[in-house]
Amino acid sequence: MPNPEKKEKKFEPKIVAFFCNWCTYTAADLAGVSRLKYAPNVRVIRIMCSGRVDPQFILQAFASGADGVLIGGCHPGDCHYSEGNYKMLRRFRLLQRVLKVLGIAEERCRLEWISASEGDKVKTVINDMVEKVRNLGPLSIPAKMSDIDEEIKELEKEINREEVPQHA
Amino acid sequence: MRYLYYPGCSLKSTGKSYEESLLAVFKALKMDVVEINDWNCCGATAYMAVDETKAFAIAARNLALAEEQFNKEEEIHVIAPCSACYMVLLKTKMFLEQNLAEKGRIKNALKESGLNYEGKVKIRHPLDVLVNDIGVKEIAKAVTHPLKGVKVASYYGCQTVRPYSTFDDQREPHTMDDITAAIGAESVDWPLKTRCCGASLTGTIDRVGLPLSFMILKEASKRRADVVSTSCPLCQFNLECYQDNMNKQFRNDIHIGVVYFSQLMGLALGIDPKTLGMNRLFVPPENVYKIMKGGEKVYV
């Protein structure tokens, strides 16, 4: 259940990022080496290629409580594995349509091409996305689902209450 | 494309002929240009040094008004002919893009007066619009009285191309020269296109300001320019109105017409000099008239 006290706090979005090893992850390292400061809301998972991003990962992240998902790959034509990023782009285009029908705003799922030299872009993309997601507010699917699932817990509790004396 | 026109104070006063000629040229080129309703001071002058936020808010009001007036447009193009207005509005737009916190404050301030600013406005200098949107080819097509033989020294001054403007090269601008070529005149190649005219110093500390203006005019004369073409009301004023003072102070005999580029354009487009506000000039560009009329001088 949402804790009323917590609502007072400034909402800090939780964003899961999938960065490809060769471009975006390296760019994030460059951002670090360059000491660029950016919003701490994005947590990066390193994968070898954006082509490895299974749409299930994105859905799982949302289902587990992410407010946004960011995928970073090499620019078109730059993929270390030649075309993995195009595969991701195609999935992303359709996944966005699925997410839209299922009520997840476009800004919550973002695909960005960031090359190894674009440390600065890591910063701007992350800051921009965090700001946009912050404006959208929390997605909090786990909390919402557990709120909805309260309706089936009541019956369960009721049955258990009935049963206790029987077993006693 | 539709354009909004932001005159600013000068174009309604000392630079009246800039407005007159520019609007006449726009009309001749069949451009759809409307003045912004209820515009206010751009915030040049001392505002910026006193309170930046308020100054930007004042300037931003004009941008918000533009968005209100052209609310259906995806991108709103505002023409600001005065270099100072152009520079300040451009600076305001950039400031709001880069400082999100200040943008919030200023948006709130605008909200108080029922306005909103989204950021859809593009600030355009008339040189930019004429060369990049209309195109020199279209301008050349519309020319009825080519200024053949007229040598023009294009003088851009500082704020038209610096520091925020990107439509032209900051050190070697060429858009005014492009227009000069399009109307059949000849550009003088000279290195003082963006040199300081003295700006407000000419009016306040003239021993600093006057020599600056004088050097510009002297070099233009030396390179045999018939006329100096400008794109800024203050430059035009400094270069034209103080010629007597300069001649007295530097014991010289400078006498050269200083006009707005739009006035030269207007002449080439066959517009009557009076419509172009040329009757307001202190130093009429006699050489231009002479060459145009094959030696006969026009009285205005």
Binding site: Y86, L89, R90, E151 | -
Partner: protein, 323 residues
């Protein structure tokens, strides 16, 4: 015949097709009827809730429940059956994954009720009357079950031991399941009683599937005439076969229709729709966003296409309501 194992069948939010599939056993039903004692089957025989309540806990060997859980009554019955049965089998796509009823999870309960009782073209209801959960009359109280906020799979409500997939499960799978139960050698809990590989494995058109699909268009079944020998994906028809568990022996394909995914994903997949989406999209031909979008426009209803039987069991389960 007290020695015969007791079996039950129950239905929740379902169309009745699953019940039909039991009858589809044909002469084998005699074998089943001989081998077991059917103690509860409301569709076929007259049982009351009280009859079940009267049974001893765990006295039924196995109950097969079909249909999704949409109402409080279905939930209550499921819980009751759970208590009375040693083994609960989610029977058919709806119990297994939510089935077609769970496409309702694209909407809120309120949207559905509003449409059903007010806006549907066949409804005349100017007073906006809605069914009441409780109605008191002459000191009598009549109640109606409550429609829940969400369509759920059976295992989202009670503990489920096995799953018999399909819309409906085939008689062959049902027979095999019954034989397994009778054998006493139970598979690990949670097993889906169908082969754990994709349908292509048993598809008669497998040979005709080319290596490089490079989709430029997609067609819906009514838009083209199918070649009845060639892989449907090769003809640009979205066939869920590659992402759907085998076991049906490609019934739909044999009927010249694409697989729509009723057997659900393999055990290694968490979200069937996401997987087929990933697979199909990866094989789209264009590289430019605009061109990709143009190809995707051929799939106007991605949820209905990829999640036809499993929205309730998908990772997101329902449409998210933003605050």
């Amino acid at each position: 015949m007290p020695d015969k194992p007791k079996i039950g069948f129950y239905w929740c939010a379902s169309c009745g097709g699953c019940e039909e599939s039991v009858v589809d056993l044909a002469e084998d039903i005699v074998m089943v009827a001989d081998a077991v004692d059917i103690v509860f089957w409301p569709v076929a025989m007259d049982f009351k809730k009280a009859d079940v309540e009267a049974m001893e806990d765990g006295s039924i060997l196995a109950t097969m429940i079909n249909g999704a859980i949409r109402t409080s009554e279905q939930e209550e019955m499921a819980r009751l059956i759970r208590r009375k049965s040693k083994i609960v089998i989610a029977y058919g796509s709806c119990a297994h994954m939510g089935g077609i009823p769970s496409l309702a999870n694209e909407f809120t309960r309120e949207q559905i009720l509003e449409y059903m009782y007010q806006e549907a073209p066949s409804v005349v209801n100017p007073e906006k009357t809605r069914p009441m959960l409780e109605f008191k009359h002459n000191s009598q109280t009549v109640t109606l079950p409550e429609i829940r906020n969400l369509v759920r799979t059976l295992d989202q409500v009670i503990d489920v031991d096995y799953y018999l997939p399909g819309c409906p499960p085939t008689p062959k799978l049902l027979k095999a399941a019954v034989l397994t139960l009778l054998s006493g050698e139970y598979p690990p809990k949670g097993t889906v009683l169908s082969p754990d590989e994709a349908l292509c494995e048993e598809c008669p058109r497998k040979e005709s599937k080319p290596t490089d699909l490079a989709f430029k268009h997609f067609y819906r079944p009514h838009q083209i005439l199918f070649d009845n020998k060639k892989c449907l994906l090769a003809q640009g028809v979205v066939c869920m076969g590659p992402a759907t568990r085998a076991g049906c022996e490609a019934l739909c394909i044999n009927g010249n229709m694409p697989c729509s995914g009723c057997f659900g994903p393999t055990s290694r997949v968490r979200d069937q729709g996401a997987k087929i989406l990933s697979s199909i999209c990866s094989n789209i031909d264009p590289k430019e966003e605009i061109a990709i979008d143009a190809v995707l426009d051929d799939i106007p209803d991605p949820i209905g296409t990829f999640y036809r039987y499993g929205l309730a069991s998908s990772l997101l389960r329902k449409k998210v309501m933003e605050d």
